[in-house]
Amino acid sequence: MKNIVVVGNGMVGHKFNEKLLAKLPDGLANLGVCLTVIGEEPRPAYDRVHLSDFFNGATAQDLELAPPGWHAQQGIRLLTGECVTEIDRAARTVRTHTGRALPYDFLILATGSAAFIPPVPGMEHPGVFAYRTIEDLEAMTAHAKPGQRAAVIGGGLLGLEAAKAVLDLGLQASVVEFAPRLMPRQLDQAGANLLKAKLESLGIQILLGKNTRCVEAGPGGLTLQFTDEQALEVDMVVVSAGIRPRDELARQAGLATGGRGGIVVNDHLQTSDPQVWAIGECALHQQMIYGLVAPGYDMADAVAAQVAAALLGQPPSDRVFTGFDMSTKLKLVGVDVASFGDPFCEQTPHDVLLWEDRRRGVYKRLNLTPDGKYLLGGILVGEAESYNLLLQMVKNRMALPPHPEDLVVPPRAGAGPEAGAGVAGLPDGALVCSCEGVSKGDICQAIDKESLTDIPGIKKCTKAGTGCGGCVPMLNDLLTLSLKKQGKAVKRVLCEHFNYTRQELYDLVRINGESTFRQVINRYGTGCGCEVCKPAVASILASVHNELVAKQSVIQDTNDRFLANIQKGGTYSVVPRVPGGEITAQQLIVIGQVAQQFDLYCKITGGQRIDLFGARVEQLPLIWEQLIAAGFESGHAYGKALRTVKSCVGSTWCRYGVQDSVGFAIEVENRYKGLRAPHKLKSAVSGCVRECAEAQSKDFGIIATDKGWNLYVGGNGGAKPQHAHLLAADLDKATCLRYIDRFLMYYIKTAGPLVRTATWLNNLEGGMDHLREVVVNDSLGLAAQFEQEMQQIVDTYHCEWREVVEAPHLRAEFRSFINTPETDPTVAFVPERGQKRPQAW
């Protein structure tokens, strides 16, 4: 029986368990190994890197690294909420605070680190928090009241993460940094200046060169007193100014520790006692504490290799840890920041390539060898999509292209290789996922061997992309590359009746001008059509000609055929348009009266409108007659069309609003109402960075800045929620609408049937870069055409329900039976909470 004890159940401690299990294919029990993990936190290991997701709705459980029951399944004994208080190295035993004694043959210390709390008076006051654990976050959440101001002490990587969390809590943030610039370990002065400007534009106050003397508590809140005699009054203080290795246990056990903290380890990560290892943020290797997860994972792997070799009776493993690249890329409050290789080259002869675009807020610095042939490192702020490729160029000492400036200057139309082409040049040994140590060769081999076709498959098979997730774009490129090599770029034809993609058919119809389904299928297809191609062709015809869909009702899905949403029991629901969610008392009364008259169930929708359920098919024209007389229009809730443009109340009422979001939402909704698309379209406009309208979860979303509007595209909720990406920033209204015109027309023309913008964008070759080129820089030269086509659709808008209500032959279609005016006798309702609902099926 061999005993392994792991002290600490953080990310690195957990990784050690995973790595060890992977190296022992027969499992622990068969080898007579007892693995005990002791964590002092009340819960099993969780993802601290994505801690701020906690404020975006992630639960503590979402952040957990292993599914419930995982430890038991693997035969691991997990003790949570238990703290190791003593190591008896002579007896090879650890003792916990409950008095429990555990013998060990291998002892792994993965005690991690604690937040560094600057030694100034007042840090004990209520309202001062560390930013480190889920408990810290829960305490912050309980204390915070929206609109309050919080000071974040620390302007480094961790401090800015904490500032993001503060914003997510609905607070105003002031970042206080001792150094004269933000992120001093990663950025140079110019990069830091640009980051500062960007964060300030998002409403974050940045105070640099500030040394906090003390924190005072008063009746109105907390006051930070600085050594320069200035002060900052806040409601809350969050400390995230660095880490302090948790080495107290090792120190007490007489293991060697560093003067400024950290358990001294050699290249085998052994402490001064060779039966005791230390990994992660508690370990001091070559005078260096590594505060990132990737080096911690590498240490975990190295120790797991040594322990596994010993357990299996193999010769000692030569797997060592020899230091780690501190390159990092992250998104700070929506701003991409990356620093890789040697970002400063203070000791190394080098030449610098600089690109600074203050207009767009982009800063790029590349350090080249003096002969200009190799890349040494660099800094990216505001745009870091080339990070992975640049990092690989440093790590693999790849020769630079003849014009290395192409690596920093944004590509122009027709110039440069397509996105993703870069990965083809990487050697197979190139480390793509540094968290999990997976190389390009491993990934491509897995794609071929296991016939993988998507990112989840790659993640499952290779674990690449499961750590920080930074390499996922590269995984995508590798996948595309491998599938292309296999000749697997399959043409997605519409269905058995059309040997064309939706895009091809769209182009044909636009050029040749067919206006009915029969013309289209006679010319380009075979057979009678089906439930896939009929609505797809109907959508194309609607986008091209913008004619009334009711004129070709038999090729529409049932919702478009009856211009209402079919519900359980076969009745329909009715949603009048309420642009921007703004509605008068009189309009509310009319909706109420109509609902009462037809006994309709009422519900407020997620899109800030009112849904009336339980209308029989023959009642629909009668209901709409009244709504239209009161000035309402169709809400197109039934169509693959623009649904709503949600808005927050904006600057007219809200004390935080910086622009009139309601006014703009109404303008946007009225512009695009009735627009047919491959799938439904949702939008929103928020009046400030707090984003109450949730614009980043929409197909296109607009967020006010103090300079204009930021336009986001490609978001959606649904089964696979996805945040929208920033397309362009600080736009005036007219430009914003022009970009939306172009974006929507490009999507409508090229997306497959029933493909939402998020999926379309995920699969768009070249991704967001390409889309930005097309929409902002007009790289295809189609912008004017897109705008003109959209204007034609806007100009020919008609309310479908008005036309139906006014046309007797169209109204006649709304009946239950063709041989009698009777209504469907099987429709039945049951009462519930003072309204009605259909019988359950």
Partner: protein
């Protein structure tokens, strides 16, 4: 064997003899490649006008998947040349020739014969003897 087959055949044939033709509606009441629903003594029958092939079909209006009255509101089409209807609720598709579910599920709808005479559409409804 031969005898058995014959008697089975006769057994099936017997009720077909008792077909009542129910008047649905004039052809002009149906949209081209459209549909309608006939209510006959509480029975709901979906009738489909395949204008392009000049054929008519009918089946029960009830979708057997979730017991919803709605097949007449579904989209018409064909699969490998076999005429079909797709239920508007969850897109189950049924052959209008055999009534079988085309996704391979164990669901089936009853089909009815249809005839057109003098511009009028009729649906054939089986009645047992004595009715």
């Amino acid at each position: 064997m031969a005898m058995n087959e014959k008697s089975t055949f006769d057994g099936l044939k017997a009720p077909q003899a008792q077909l009542t033709w129910v008047k649905a509606a004039p052809v002009s009441a149906f949209a081209e490649n459209g549909s309608g629903c006939v209510l006959h003594e509480g029975e709901q029958i979906a009738v489909f006008n395949f204008t392009d092939t000049g054929r008519w079909f009918a089946c029960q209006n009830l979708c057997p998947h979730k017991q919803q009255m709605g097949l007449w509101r579904g989209l018409l089409g064909d699969q490998g040349g076999e005429p079909k209807v797709a239920c508007p609720f969850h897109k189950r598709t049924f052959s209008l020739e055999t009534g079988r579910n085309l996704q391979g599920e164990d669901l089936c709808v009853k089909t009815y014969p249809v005839k057109v005479e003098n511009g009028m559409v009729y649906v054939g409804i089986e009645t047992s003897e004595g009715q």
